[in-house]
C-alpha cells in the first residue's frame, strides 16, 4: 500500500514537473506575413511599431518566451515613446491636427498582455503541436499520481474517525521546508498568472482543443486556471471524502462545493460563452464579484439582450435578498463553505493547512480592521463607478473612477485574494482571504452575528479544554474559549465548515439552525453545577 502511495507521489511529481517546465519549452517567432496579418487584425496603425516588431521578432531564430516577451515589450515601449515625443513636439508647435492624429498610434494595454496576445499566435513546439499528448503528460500524470497517493488512505488511515496523526510532525503540514517550497511555488504561480501571462502561454496551448470543444475559442490563461482549479478541487475533494468518511456533514458539504465550482463557476460560463452570451457565474455575489458594477460589465450585460438583463437583476437580487435571507436561515456557511469557489479551494486544497490560522486576540483585532476596510473600499469603489457611469463623468468626490478600480483590482483582486490568499495557505492557513479580506464575508458576517438562526451549540459542561477545536478552526476562532464556558459560538467569521465539531473528542459542538431566542447563552457557571449556584451567578 505504502509502495503504491509513494509511486503515486513520484508520478505526480513527474507530471507536475513537466507542467512547470512547459514554460521553458517551445519557441516563438513570426514570418513577415504572420506579423502583417496580426497587425491588420488588431488594427494597429503605427508604422513605427510594425518596424520595431519586424526588426525584433520576425526572424528564423527560435526565441524563448522570455526573449520573445522582452522584445515585444521593448517594441511597444519604443513605439509608444516615439509617438509620445511626436505628441509633445506637435503640442509645442501648437499643431493640433497633427497632435490629434498622433494619438491613434499609441497602444494601450499591459505590456505582458500585449505580449501574451502575440505569443499565443507565435508559439511553436511540442505543446502547440501535441496538445492532447501534452495534457496527458501534465494533467493526466498529475491526476493519476495524486489519486494513487491519496486513495490508499482508505486502508492506510485505518478505521474511520479523526485522523490527524502526525500533522505537527510533518514538514509539509508543520510549516517546515516543504511548506515553504509550496508557498513559493503558489506565490510564483499567482504572480505569473496575474502579471506575466505571456510566460505561461505554453500552458494555454495544452487547453486549446478542450476550450474549443467547450466554448468554440482558444484557451486563455484564465481557462487554464479555471480547469486547474476544478481539477485540484476534485482531487483534493477525494482526499476529503476519505479523511472524513465517517462524517456525513463533511461528505455532503464537499460534494456541494465541488458541484458549484464545476458546474456554476466553470461549465455554465463556458457554455454561455459558446452561445454568444456573457459568461456569468450565477453564484458569484457582489462584492466578492467586485467588477459586477464596472462599466464594461454593465455595458456588456445591456448589450446582451434578455439574458443580460436577467443577469443584472439576478446579481442584484442575489446580493440584496438571497444571500442575507439564506444567512438568516442557515448561517453564512451556506455560501462560504457550501457554494463559494474561494471557500471550495480552501476546503479542499487548503484542508491540510487549516491549523495554521492565528488564534490570538491580536489576530482577531487585525481581522476586524482589515476585512471591514476592504468592505468599505469595495463599496466606495462601486459608488464612484456607478456615479461616473450614470453621470458620464470620470470622477466622483475627487476620486477617479479608473484609478480606484485599478487600485482595487490590483491590491485586493490580485494581491490579497490570489497571491496572499491562496499563496500563503501553507504558512498562514487556508482562509487568509476569507478571514481577513473578503468583503462579501464581512457583509454575511454582520447578518450572521446579528440576525441569524445559526450557532454552534456547546454541549453543557462536557468540554475538557483540550484545544482541538480551536487548533483546527480555519477562521482562527478560539472555539475553546466559548466551549469551556458552556457558551454557544456566535461569531461573524464562522464559515460553518463543521471541523471543530468533527475533531472534538468529547462531542461538545454541534452546528445547528434554531430559534433566535436562546442562541446566545452567556453562562458564567457551567451546567452540572448545582442550580442555586447558577441562579446566584445569573442574578449577580
Amino acid at each position: 500500500m505504502k509502495a503504491i502511495k509513494y509511486s503515486g507521489l513520484g508520478i505526480f511529481l513527474v507530471g507536475f514537473s513537466i507542467f512547470t517546465m512547459a514554460i521553458f519549452s517551445g519557441y516563438f517567432n513570426f514570418t513577415e506575413q504572420e506579423l502583417e496579418s496580426y497587425i491588420s487584425e488588431k488594427g494597429y496603425k503605427s508604422e513605427h511599431l510594425k518596424e520595431e516588431l519586424l526588426k525584433s521578432i520576425v526572424t528564423d531564430e527560435k526565441l524563448s518566451i522570455f526573449e520573445f516577451s522582452s522584445k515585444v515589450r521593448a517594441a511597444f515601449e519604443t513605439s509608444n515613446k516615439y509617438h509620445e515625443t511626436q505628441i509633445s513636439k506637435y503640442n509645442a508647435e501648437k499643431n493640433w491636427a497633427k497632435k490629434g492624429e498622433e494619438f491613434q498610434y499609441k497602444i494601450s494595454g499591459k505590456p505582458h498582455s500585449l505580449s501574451y496576445d502575440l505569443a499565443k499566435k507565435a508559439g511553436k513546439g511540442f505543446f502547440k503541436d501535441e496538445p492532447m499528448l501534452a495534457w496527458w503528460l501534465t494533467f493526466g500524470l498529475g491526476i493519476f499520481g495524486a489519486l494513487l497517493f491519496i486513495l490508499p488512505n482508505v486502508i492506510l488511515l485505518g478505521k474511520p474517525g479523526i485522523k490527524n496523526n502526525g500533522i505537527y510532525h510533518e514538514s509539509a503540514t508543520n510549516r517546515g521546508f516543504i511548506a515553504w517550497l509550496v508557498l513559493m511555488y503558489l506565490v510564483g504561480f499567482y504572480l505569473v498568472l496575474y502579471f506575466m501571462p505571456d510566460y505561461v502561454v505554453n500552458w494555454t496551448f495544452i487547453f486549446d482543443p478542450i476550450s474549443n470543444a467547450l466554448n468554440g475559442g482558444n484557451a486563455s490563461q484564465w481557462f487554464v486556471y479555471g480547469f486547474l482549479y476544478c481539477t485540484i478541487m476534485l482531487v483534493m475533494g477525494a482526499r476529503m471524502y476519505i479523511k472524513y468518511r465517517h462524517n456525513k456533514y463533511q461528505i455532503i458539504r464537499t460534494t456541494s462545493v465541488l458541484f458549484f465550482q464545476i458546474v456554476f463557476a466553470f461549465l455554465i460560463p463556458e457554455i454561455m460563452t459558446s452561445l454568444n452570451m456573457p459568461g456569468y457565474d450565477f453564484k458569484s455575489a457582489f462584492p466578492l464579484d467586485y467588477d459586477f458594477f464596472f462599466e464594461w460589465n454593465l455595458k456588456s450585460l445591456q448589450n446582451s439582450g434578455a439574458i443580460g438583463i436577467f443577469i443584472l437583476v439576478w446579481g442584484i437580487i442575489l446580493t440584496i435578498v438571497i444571500v442575507p435571507v439564506m444567512v438568516y436561515f442557515f448561517g453564512k456557511r451556506w455560501y462560504c463553505s457550501w457554494v463559494c469557489g474561494c471557500g471550495g479551494l480552501a476546503e479542499t486544497l487548503g484542508d491540510p493547512y487549516r491549523q495554521h490560522s492565528d488564534k490570538s486576540l491580536n489576530a482577531w483585532k487585525l481581522e476586524r480592521w482589515l476585512i471591514h476596510s476592504v468592505l468599505i473600499f469595495s463599496l466606495v469603489m462601486t459608488v464612484v463607478t456607478l456615479y461616473c457611469y450614470f453621470s458620464g463623468t470620470s470622477s466622483f468626490l475627487g476620486i477617479k473612477s479608473q484609478w480606484i478600480k485599478d487600485t482595487y483590482s490590483f491590491l485586493i483582486g490580485a494581491w490579497f485574494a490570489g497571491v496572499i490568499g491562496t499563496g500563503f495557505y501553507p504558512i498562514f492557513g487556508n482562509r487568509v482571504w476569507c478571514r481577513f479580506g473578503c468583503p462579501l464575508a464581512a457583509y454575511l458576517g454582520f447578518v450572521q452575528r446579528f440576525k441569524s438562526r445559526f450557532r454552534i451549540t456547546t454541549n453543557g459542561g462536557q468540554c475538557i479544554s483540550c484545544g482541538n477545536c480551536s487548533t483546527y478552526c480555519e477562521q482562527g476562532i478560539d472555539v475553546r474559549a466559548y466551549a469551556q464556558k458552556g457558551e454557544n459560538i456566535v461569531r461573524s467569521s464562522c464559515v460553518g465548515c463543521g471541523i471543530c465539531s468533527a475533531v472534538c473528542p468529547r462531542g461538545v459542538l454541534k452546528l445547528e439552525n434554531g430559534p433566535e431566542k436562546g442562541r446566545i447563552n452567556p453562562t458564567e457557571i457551567l451546567l452540572g453545577n448545582d442550580v442555586d449556584l447558577m441562579q446566584l451567578l445569573n442574578q449577580k
Binding site: 485505518g158 478505521k159 474511520p160 474517525g161 479523526i162 490527524n164 496523526n165 502526525g166 500533522i167 505537527y168 510532525h169 510533518e170 465517517h246 462524517n247 456525513k248 456533514y249 455532503i252 490570538s360 486576540l361 451549540t457 454541549n459 453543557g460 459542561g461 462536557q462 475538557i464 479544554s465 483540550c466 484545544g467 482541538n468 480551536s470 487548533t471 475553546r480 474559549a481 469551556q484 463543521g498 465539531s501 468533527a502 475533531v503 473528542p505 468529547r506 462531542g507 454541534k510 452546528l511 445547528e512 434554531g514 430559534p515 431566542k517 436562546g518 447563552n521 458564567e524 457557571i525 457551567l526 451546567l527 452540572g528 453545577n529 448545582d530 442550580v531 442555586d532 449556584l533 446566584l536
Partner: protein, 449 residues
C-alpha cells in the same frame, strides 16, 4: 490586601483564581512545580500524536495572567506551616498566605511492583511524563514494544498514542473485560473488540508481576503474574489509576485520608485552608459520587464554588447530576446520570440496551425496575445533549418519556443517521409498550432558555 495562594495551576486552581479575580481585587498567586502556564492535561495525548503542539493545550494566552493581575510562581512546595501561614519551597524559600487553596491534583498509582522506578517506566499524568515518553518511545525503532499496565481511561489513551507511531503495544488489564467495573458488558465487550481492531495486544485477566532491568537500569521486559511469561519491551506505562498528590502535606496539621479531607464547603480542618480538584476528598460522599473525583469538570466546579466562599458568599459544593465523557480510540462515549455495570449495580437498577448491527454504536439506559424512573444513559458512537438529560434527571422523568423524546436529545452533527426509531422499536418489543417516537422539537429543547 488579602493574599490568596493557590498551590497547583490545573483546572481546579486556575478556575478558582479566575473567579476570585472576577469577584474581588485580592492578591492572587498560583504556584506550580510543573509548568508556568496552565495547560490542559487531557490534551497531552494529542501532542504526542501530532494533532496539537504543546502551546495549543494552553487555554489562555500568556498575557492573560498579567492582565488579570494573577501572579504565577514556579516552584515546588515541600511543606506548609499552618501556624505561621507559610509555604516552604524546595529551595527553602517561603511564602506568606492569608488563605490557601490546595489544588495539587493527582499522581499515577504505583503498587510497589519490582522495577517500577526503572528508566523507561512511566505514568501519563504530568508534562514531564510526555517528555519522558518522547525520549523512550520516539518511534518504533527505539521502542520495539511497550507494555501498558492498567485498563482504564488513561491506559487506553496511552495505547492509542503509541499506536499512532506504530509502536507495538501489549495492554495488561486486570479485569476480565475492559473497564467492566464501570461499563456494562455489552459496552465493555464492544471496546475489547475495538482495541483488537487497532492491533493492540489486549491481555485481559492479566496482572503484572515485575519489571526486569537491563544492564543500564532501563526496562528490558516484564513478567506476567501466574504464567511467568516474559514480554520484552522498552517502555512500560503504568496507568492503574491515580491518587491525590499530597505527599508534601505529611508533616502538617492538615487532616488527610487518601486525599485532603474537606467538608461540603471545601474547607479543611484548618480554617484558612481549602482543597479542591483531584486532591480533595469529601468527608461524606455526595450521592452516588465517590469521595475523590478525579475528573476535569468536578475540579472546575470546585474552583467555582470555593471562589464564592473566599469572596464572602459561603457556598456549598453541590455538584448536579453526574455526567462524563471519554473516547476509546475511535469510539466516543458520553454518560449522563448513573449507569452501573452488572457487577456494581443495585438490585432495583434495570437496563435497556441497544446496539447497532454493524457500527460501533450502542446505548444503555438505566431505570428503576419498580418506578420506571430514568436513572441514566451511556451512549457510544452517538452524541447526546447534556441539557436535556440534566433536565430529565431533575424532573425524574420515566424511561418511557426518555425514549419517546429521544430525538430531542440527539446531538450528532447534522445529516447523521439517527437511530431513535430502531431503539424505540426494540424497547417496545422488550417491554410490551407502544411508544411512538416524537419528532425533534426546538420548542421543547429550548423550553428552559
Amino acid at each position: 490586601m488579602e493574599h490568596i495562594v493557590i498551590i497547583g495551576n490545573g483546572i481546579a486552581g486556575v478556575t478558582a483564581a479566575r473567579h476570585i479575580r472576577k469577584k474581588s481585587n485580592k492578591k492572587i498567586t498560583i504556584i506550580s512545580g510543573e509548568s508556568k502556564y496552565f495547560f490542559s492535561r487531557t490534551a497531552l495525548m494529542y501532542v504526542y500524536m501530532g494533532h496539537l503542539k504543546f502551546e495549543h493545550t494552553q487555554p489562555y494566552e500568556n498575557w492573560f495572567w498579567k492582565k488579570n493581575n494573577i501572579e504565577l510562581k514556579e516552584g515546588f512546595v515541600t511543606n506548609v506551616n499552618t501556624d505561621k501561614n507559610q509555604l516552604i519551597f524546595s529551595d527553602n524559600s517561603t511564602l506568606f498566605y492569608d488563605k490557601l487553596i490546595i489544588a495539587t491534583g493527582s499522581k499515577p498509582n504505583k503498587f510497589g511492583w519490582k522495577g517500577q522506578d526503572l528508566k523507561g517506566v512511566m505514568g501519563l499524568y504530568h508534562k514531564q511524563d510526555l517528555e519522558n515518553l518522547e525520549k523512550y518511545a520516539p518511534n518504533k525503532e527505539v521502542c520495539k514494544r511497550a507494555v501498558i499496565v492498567g485498563g482504564g481511561l488513561i491506559g487506553i489513551e496511552l495505547a492509542e498514542m503509541l499506536r499512532s507511531r506504530k509502536i507495538p503495544v501489549t495492554f495488561l488489564v486486570r479485569e476480565t473485560s475492559f473497564w467492566n467495573s464501570v461499563l456494562p458488558t455489552q459496552e465493555s465487550e464492544m471496546i475489547n473488540k475495538h482495541i483488537l481492531e487497532h492491533h493492540i495486544d489486549l491481555r485481559l485477566n492479566t496482572n503484572l508481576k515485575e519489571i526486569i532491568s537491563d544492564e543500564n537500569g532501563q526496562v528490558k521486559s516484564v513478567i506476567i503474574e501466574g504464567t511467568n511469561e516474559e514480554i520484552p519491551c522498552n517502555v512500560v506505562g503504568l496507568t492503574a489509576g491515580v491518587s491525590p498528590n499530597i505527599d508534601f502535606l505529611k508533616n502538617t496539621n492538615i487532616t488527610c485520608n487518601k486525599g485532603v479531607l474537606v467538608n461540603r464547603f471545601l474547607e479543611t480542618n484548618i480554617p484558612t485552608i481549602y482543597a479542591i480538584g483531584d486532591c480533595a476528598e469529601q468527608q461524606h460522599p455526595i450521592g452516588n459520587r465517590r469521595p475523590i473525583e478525579a475528573v476535569w469538570y468536578t475540579g472546575r466546579m470546585m474552583g467555582e464554588t470555593v471562589a464564592q466562599t473566599i469572596c464572602g458568599k459561603k457556598t456549598e459544593y453541590k455538584p448536579g447530576h453526574w455526567f462524563n465523557s471519554a473516547k476509546f480510540l475511535d469510539i466516543e462515549y458520553q454518560t449522563y446520570g448513573w449507569v452501573f455495570s452488572e457487577k456494581t449495580k443495585s438490585e432495583n437498577e434495570d437496563h435497556f440496551q441497544w446496539q447497532h448491527a454493524s457500527q460501533n454504536k450502542c446505548i444503555t439506559i438505566s431505570f428503576d425496575k419498580n418506578t420506571h424512573e430514568f436513572l441514566g444513559i451511556n451512549t457510544f458512537g452517538i452524541r447526546m445533549r447534556h441539557e436535556i438529560f440534566d433536565q430529565w434527571l431533575s424532573e425524574k422523568k420515566s424511561v418511557e418519556h426518555v425514549l419517546e423524546y429521544l430525538a430531542d436529545a440527539n446531538f450528532d452533527p447534522e445529516f447523521y443517521k439517527s437511530h431513535e426509531t430502531e431503539i424505540v422499536a426494540k424497547f417496545n418489543q422488550e417491554m410490551c409498550t407502544n411508544i411512538q417516537v416524537k419528532k425533534k422539537s426546538w420548542k421543547r429543547i429550548f423550553s428552559k432558555a
